[in-house]
């Protein structure tokens, strides 16, 4: 199971995080190297994570980065420049594509969601 596939269990049990995202519903494509996932958000909860294996799937926006970039991002204490989505963006290690309005309107929530796998790494 990939970290992205673990997002439902990491997010849906976190009441404060779900509340923060309660106005956010969208299909988001998250790319970890050569693996693409369609993550379905519904009012702050993650309803489904589906690996993308066929063409012509649509999404509201996409977040793309290489596997080793995500690996460093998910370290319990990531190094400078790998510690935040916008830091990755600033150094050209991550791309946002598509309709960015829902992303920007919910950016704190989405940052916190994508940082949740750090607790898994801390437990290893």
């Amino acid at each position: 199971m990939t970290n992205i596939e673990k997002l439902p269990e990491l997010v849906n049990g976190n009441a404060a995080l779900v509340r923060r995202g309660k106005h956010f519903s969208a299909d988001v494509m998250i790319e970890v190297g050569d693996r693409q996932h369609l993550v379905r958000f519904e009012q702050g909860r993650i309803a489904a994570v589906t690996p993308i294996r066929i063409n012509l799937q649509s999404w509201t926006f996409a977040i793309r980065a290489a596997a080793d970039v995500w690996e460093r991002f998910w370290l319990p204490v990531p190094p400078p420049g790998y510690h935040d989505l916008i830091a990755l963006l600033r150094y050209g290690r991550l791309r946002f594509e598509g309709n960015l309005q829902p992303l920007m309107a919910n950016l704190i929530y989405l940052k916190l969601v994508l940082e949740t796998p750090r607790v898994l790494e801390a437990g290893r």
């Binding site: 510690h83 916008i86 830091a87 309005q101 950016l107 940052k111």
Partner: protein, 285 residues
Amino acid sequence: MNVTIEPIVGRYMNLEFQGRPHRIYFEEAGQGIPLLCLHTAGSDGRQYRALLNDAEVTRDFRVVVFDMPWHGKSSPPAGWENEEYLLTTEGYTDLIMTVARALNLERPVVIGCSIGGRIVLQLALQHEAELRSVIGLQSSGRVNPYYDISWLYRPDVHGGEVCAAMVSGLMAPRSPAPHRWETLWHYMQGGPGVFKGDLHFYTVEGDILDRVGAIDAVQCPVYMLTGEYDYSCSPDDSTATAAQIEGAQLTIMKDLGHFPMSEHPEQFRTYLLPVLGDILRREGK
């Protein structure tokens, strides 16, 4: 009931600045060498709450913090509803010197962070005889814009939320959560378009990298402290600037980011106290 009243005193001053009446809020604590503190873009003087409460600092320094007009408890001037707020080098410099004179701060040390870290370099260029020294936090003569700042002020994105979101990652991951979220709260409380208006100075109008070489750091010593996790004014940005200023003293701070005095005051003071000690030694104290 257990109550602690902090030694900080807050007051308002009414003065003319740029030809218009302004009502400016300021706080102070301590006595001695004036230490004038400049907050970051889109925030306010609460960022210096720990410094104002630091008895080791206020023993020797009169710490003064003001909210820039449009920020914190300083209102915009009358007529603001018909104009776009845009910070400029000239207006910002004039503001700081006006406040310093209004409060009779004699040859103050000026410490500023981010936009404040930029403007102290301008002050060292232009007003070196009126200053004791400058301390630039997250200071550089130039930063390269890395995103479209129009996101910070548009009706379909909550301004407070997005401003906080765009700065949250500038802090170090190990900075304590209460201080990080307090720092974000200040951003969430900023007026519409104000952070964006400050960034006009920071990323567009106020590029002085090509001029900082003329700073006389003997007349006005230049100290620079930059947190390692900052990707807005990165350690490389500060290093490039310090390399242009003969005698500038730059330290890269571990486990700190763009808001050292606010995100992790205990870690920050381990870097600031030696600088203040150096300033005291120069005074023969």
